[in-house]
Every structure is written in C-alpha cells, then in structure tokens.
Symmetry: C2
Subunit: 246 residues, 2 copies
C-alpha cells in the first residue's frame, strides 16, 4: 500500500514527440507505439517484419473499418430505439461514408504522421480516411474494445453524429438560427477569430452574440464548422422558442 | 468478508426453461431475458414497447451482424499476419456468408425459440441466420463486447473457422486422410453412432479407428461433419506423416 512505482520508458526524441501528439489525439496513453507507426506507414514503404509480413496500414485499416462499423451500430441501436433495420443501416452509411472519414482524418491532420516513399502531394483524398480507420484499428489492437469505443465516441460520435441532421430534418443549425432571429427581429453576430494557439492544427473559434449577450461558443478546424457548432448549441438552448417558429 | 449473497430470481416455469436452454447455448448466464426473447420474435408478432417501438429481432440482427463482422475481423487480423486487406476481406466474407450463418443457426436449433404469427413452415432458410445474428446482438446488448466475443469464439470460430480450409488449400480432411491410408496401405474405420443423449438437438459421434486403435473422435449435428472433425484431428496429430504424402 501507498507507494508509487514509476516505470521509466526511454524513447528517442522523435518517439517522445510522436507519443505526446498521439496521446493528445487519443485522449489516453498509447502503449505499443509500433502499432501506431504501422497505422501511419504507406504501402510504398517496403518494410517487413522478421517473418516477411508487410508493415503498412492496410491491415489495420481493415480492422478499424470493422470496429468502427460495430461501434456506430451499437450507438445507433441505443440512440434510435424507433429506427428499424433499414433506418439504422442508412444512418450508419452516412456516418462512415468515405467523404466523412476523409474529413475526420483531415481534421486531425493525421497525414503529418504518414511515412511514405512517394510525395505526399501524390496521395489522393482517401489517405485521410484510410489512416483514420487504421488508427482505430491500432487502438483496438493496442488497448482493446473499450478504448477503441472511447476514441470513436470522442472523435466521431460526439462532434459529428447528429441524428436529426443525418435524417435530413435539419441541414444547417446556422440557417435555422438566422431565420428565427430575422423573424423575431433580434440582432445577432457570429464573431469568428483564429484560435490555433499552440496546436499543430489550425483552429477557429466563434462567439455567437444575441442582443449584446454571448449565448454560445464553438471551436473547430474551419470557420463554417465553428459557426455550426455555436448555432447548434444556441439551438438546443433556445429550442422551445425556435421550434415555435417552424 | 466471507459471506455469500444469493439473489433469488423468480421466473415463470416457461422462462426458467428458456433461461436454462439459453445458458447451455451461450456457455454463460444471460441476465436480461427480455432482450433474448426479442431476438427470437418474428416481425409478424406485432408487439411494441410503451413508446410504440416494434419488438422483433430485426434491430438486434443489425447489431449482431456488425459485432460479428468486427470479432471475425479481429480474429483474422491476429491469425493471418501475412494476409493483406484483400485476403482478410475475402476470408471474412466466407465465414459470415448467408449460407454459413444459416447453418450455424440451424445447428443450434434456434428456430425452436422463435415466436411468430405465421406458420414456421413458411419461414425461408434465412430465418436461421437472422436469429443467429440477432442472438449475437442480444448478447452484446445484455452483457457487452467481451461476452459477445466469447460466444462467437465458442460457436463460430472454434468449430467452424479453419483457415487452410477457407483458403481452399484443404477442401476435406476426410479425403486427405483416406488418400494417405490408401497410399500407406493402412486400414481405417469411421465408426459413426447416434449420440443425441438428453440434448434437444440430434447429434452424431464418430470414432476414427486406424489399425485397430482409436486415434480421434468427433461429434456434430451431422454424420459428415462429425467425420470431418475426427479426420481433421487425426490430420493434425499425424500431420508430418500425412503431409509427406502430398
């Protein structure tokens, strides 16, 4: 009882940086860095292990794709108790669409970790989604289902999965908010500013001001997304009043 | 320390029977019986919950399909370290094929649990695979990923997933064994007998006898499968000698 054992791990400077950046993306500590390195290795790098097996992200991408599908299925199953099988399938397809996965990988700027033997400018857009899926596979392989689930909640579900929006009932919270303001003759300002700070990824923040009062905030990798986040928060805060307007 | 708390659960006679049969199929105790009842309810039964949501197996089937896909992906990822993404995808398709899932559901005789408002004779073959997937969804929903994984290992992977066979390298262990015996001029007998016992499903057992000695055994729901299991066990026991023969 009562003594703390500190495990000292010696990492190269480069590994230490990778570990820290990875930890900040994951929200928890990665254990086996090699798995994550593999998740960011393009097949143009002809690495093999001792048994001659190729060491690139493609197998981890397969694994991550399957885990992502299961985690999203489980989320939708719980959150949409009235949706039938067809509805659940359709909602999941929207969430794990190629386009959406590319966006997720791009937002996290995962491409900066990628090692390859071809110029990065030659990658297509899909590399973003591919390494995003490979990262999910790596987390599962390193730490198991619970951590994998945690990461998908943090990076996919919480910021991006919005059932009314996916259903097409709401396409933009910003325009919904603006319509309401115009109808009610209320003044509003979306006050956007650069909020990158020490991050290696560019961020924008926005304050949504209604009648001289800040009613919500948003932060994201594009102005449009930050505005949408703030508008969504305002929408849920003022939901009763706004929905009367519909 | 040191006292045991016994939780007394009162179940109807019918529920108690369902609980016991289910426990024997799962290999562990189910907790929320209602979820499993839903997994065996056909959509012709117009049950709804308080909120008006339909209570049949279709949503659980969606969930089970996704979990099965992830668990098989994870198994193949570990067991076939030299297989690329295309190989892994192809192997998984073979394991989770409609035909194979129907066989798995049929072997467990899951149809006997199904409640419906149409005659069971009107169900197509696919009901077997559908409720098998729904059962996987129910386990996940009741007890989480680890138990779901345990069940898939026990009922799908251990008895049915045989990578060399899936790869088409070996199509029948029985014929491989017979060829070897003929070449080596060894006498063999596949001694098959009914071994249903107290089970509600019909079982066959086989003793594989080589030169008057029992070298392996097999038990399954068909004679052919039982023979194949015994031949496979013999194959792995005599692998060195048999593969010299190839």
């Amino acid at each position: 009882m009562g003594f703390i054992r500190k495990i000292l791990i010696t990492r190269s400077k480069k590994d230490e940086l990778f570990y820290r950046e990875l930890k900040s993306i994951l929200g928890f500590r990665p254990v086996n860095l090699n798995i994550y390195k593999k998740a960011f290795t393009h097949r143009s790098v002809k690495n093999t292990d001792k048994a001659g097996n190729p060491q690139n992200y493609e197998r981890l991408e397969f694994l991550g794709d399957a885990l992502l599908g299961a985690i999203i299925a489980s989320y939708l199953f719980k959150k949409a108790p009235s949706g039938n099988e067809g509805y659940l399938t359709q909602m999941r397809s929207k969430i794990v669409s190629r386009e959406h996965l590319n966006e997720l990988g791009r937002d996290l700027n995962l491409i900066k970790f990628v090692t390859s033997n071809i110029a990065k400018s030659k990658f297509g857009e899909n590399i973003n989604g591919n390494v995003f899926e490979a990262l999910i596979g790596a987390i599962y392989s390193d730490l198991g289902y619970a951590y994998c689930n945690k990461f998908v909640y943090k990076q996919v579900i919480k910021p991006h999965v919005d059932i009314p929006k996916l259903e097409g009932k709401i396409t933009s919270y910003k325009s919904l908010f603006i319509e309401w303001c115009q109808k009610e003759k209320k003044e509003f300002i979306f006050d956007v500013y650069d909020d990158t700070g020490n991050s290696s990824i560019r961020y924008f923040s926005v304050k949504l001001i209604l009648e001289d009062k800040i009613i919500s905030k948003g932060r994201a990798t594009s102005k449009k997304k930050a505005e949408e986040i703030a508008a969504k928060r305002a929408y849920y805060a003022f939901q009763n009043e706004i929905s009367k307007n519909k």
